[in-house]
Subunit: 454 residues, 2 copies
Amino acid sequence: MQAWKEYQEKNKERFLEEMLDLLRIPSISAKSEHKNDMRRCAEQVRQNLLDAGADKAVVMETAGHPVVYGEKIIDPSKPTVLVYGHYDVQPADPLELWHSGPFEPVIKDGKVYARGSADDKGQFYMHVKAMETMIKTASLPTNIKFLIEGEEEVGSPNLAAFIAAQKELLKADVILISDSAMISMENPSLDIGVRGLSYIEVEVTGANRDLHSGVYGGAVANPITILAKMIASCHDENNHITIPGFYDDVVEATPEERELMAKAPYDEEEYKKDLGVKELWGEKGYTTNERTGIRPTLEVNGIWGGYMGEGAKTVLPSKATAKISARLVPNQSSAKITQILLDHFRKIAPPSVSVNAFEHHGGEAYMTPIESKAYQSAAKAIKETFGKEPVPVRGGGSIPICAILEKELGVKIVFMGFGLDSDNLHSPNEKFNLENYYKGIETIPYFHKFFAES
Amino acid sequence: MQAWKEYQEKNKERFLEEMLDLLRIPSISAKSEHKNDMRRCAEQVRQNLLDAGADKAVVMETAGHPVVYGEKIIDPSKPTVLVYGHYDVQPADPLELWHSGPFEPVIKDGKVYARGSADDKGQFYMHVKAMETMIKTASLPTNIKFLIEGEEEVGSPNLAAFIAAQKELLKADVILISDSAMISMENPSLDIGVRGLSYIEVEVTGANRDLHSGVYGGAVANPITILAKMIASCHDENNHITIPGFYDDVVEATPEERELMAKAPYDEEEYKKDLGVKELWGEKGYTTNERTGIRPTLEVNGIWGGYMGEGAKTVLPSKATAKISARLVPNQSSAKITQILLDHFRKIAPPSVSVNAFEHHGGEAYMTPIESKAYQSAAKAIKETFGKEPVPVRGGGSIPICAILEKELGVKIVFMGFGLDSDNLHSPNEKFNLENYYKGIETIPYFHKFFAES
């Protein structure tokens, strides 16, 4: 539509400035010291929605960080698109690896560098500006609802209750989420699934106090050594996970599915070069795309214990702790795997230490059927603006609320991510390419158009 | 000697106050931010020596933290005792576990709580006050020299060069060190050896940046997992160290030695209770005293990598690091074992990661012959004040400079520690019992007396 294009071209600068303003708020949901920033961010999103033409936008309370809800209802008989996104971001640590402040967005080589630029502020904001485009050009073909939460990065602990209580308010015909990536601008893709998650913490305690490693070393269990042995035992020599029951509910992909996946563009040398590694690592018998898409994985996300400062300290520490998470595939239950993990780490600890293991959060895997009206509308929209049919891919990340959204609202979810895998999500120097931001704003209205027509 | 006892009783309060003043200086040699505190502490020790009656006391430069030298020469034809000690202390981390400030000494239940109280400020200060006692009661039977260094806790990197350059100044007939512990006040003991040390750091790098554990997890090596596997592989199921060559130069203790060691008072239930553990851990086939005395050990002193903050972060980190040290027994070479450790960790790393391994510091083990004049004088002194023959024991800790002192000065070292294993050396809430402090000041003059007479 020429009118969309013209409106977007004219307001390009402002679309960017508004996104940058949102990135300036350190809305880190995991850290309690940012509680006020979270609320400030929610208020700003509410205002953004009103400015973009929403009839209504409200900050709604939960037991944790608030949810922002907004809507533009043009005609209750028309289809309704519910946009889900999140205004919270990952912690910015380790700060010393950022080239510029995580909350002082910098534009360099056509990329916005800031925490949350791609995950997810920049991406959900494309929908706000797409709505504005359609409203201001009097061409909005659907009703739009926005559900922008503040706890995605901590596992959405309060969103399920919110959704259950607000089924009527959130009623829609499709749920649209931009919180993932595509292969590249030359090879647009659409995620047809996300993995589930089980995230736990394991604390191993040896002696009741830190000890002198000379006086006690060799006679008392070192919790770091014990924790290392526990972690080491979780993968065998083929990098297959050894925890009993872990793979029980995994449905193996069919040879046809795997054949289809193998067709997705992938250059191993390029992949290794980008990561700076000489050799890849992973479960024997599976390709990189399969390892990150259709196979469950187990990663240690953090570990600490003993002396971590400058120089040397000859201490035999009292405690060692690890944060450990598993990515799950469809048919694995997050609650079940979490229990398996907790039980396993408690069980394999020798009697010379004690273990305190607890859950952080979890969520189920989710799959979108390719044949659905929603997926087909997204594919058509991509083809319209990219000039190319999108490749369907299985995403490696997790959006735990997906399974709950579908269960409670009874409609399908379509993932329309405009980020790139190289956006440094959850890492220092997170970025979002301006080209992708604008392409997203350009593409989204076509989704509404095709979905309304279908 | 009645005169000593009377003088000490009269000056008891001041002896304590002066020690507390020394404990108030955060002389942490490992941390560059404490450089000025180190110099301030050295100056204070110099003044303490002059106040106690030394003829001469000077702060002498090294390439690192300065050395304090002091002397009282009564007659060059009399025997000379060189007292070695250190005014630097271990880092105080983890700070949150201290019940009171590590550099704000508190006296509770007859114990001084402060970093450095037992290791080694409180202990070397006993010698300063013992010298004062003998000078003020006109009964000093020997010449005394003091060598109080500021880099013991970081492996004395500059002391060897200092000693080599100052052989004439440091010339003595025996070296006396109070930087270790005794079994208990009821079971006084004298260390007849210290273990050697090899301390390294191993940094494992996977990808060139932190990654999203969903997008890349399962396809790229996780440096925490790899480091855990490397650490786990270093001990077998009998807690025997598996690193090739590690035990090559270990001389097994004779059955007679082991029989003698077994006679030292040791209550396993009490030991476990004090540490708060249900079961001990150690090399199969050896007792606790053997594990900490005559066997080399390998401990992880610290580990860190990935997200260590509040809540959860689904990161696949770029780096994981561990501080690892070995305690060595006589005949093992610290330089050789350090090289074995560095080579081993570089070698066992898979090609999916890179390893940067480097040495922190090291030192050789040391043994004092029981039949030496020096040991016998110490044993007699203990018997005089404790009313009981001391038990000879092998200490688990390391004083790397011992082997160098003996080599350069050509005389034997005698260890006369008045601390206890439960003093929380290198741990939060380090303490030194007042009873032990005063008993040390009471005992030391007898060593000088018996050594002069022998």
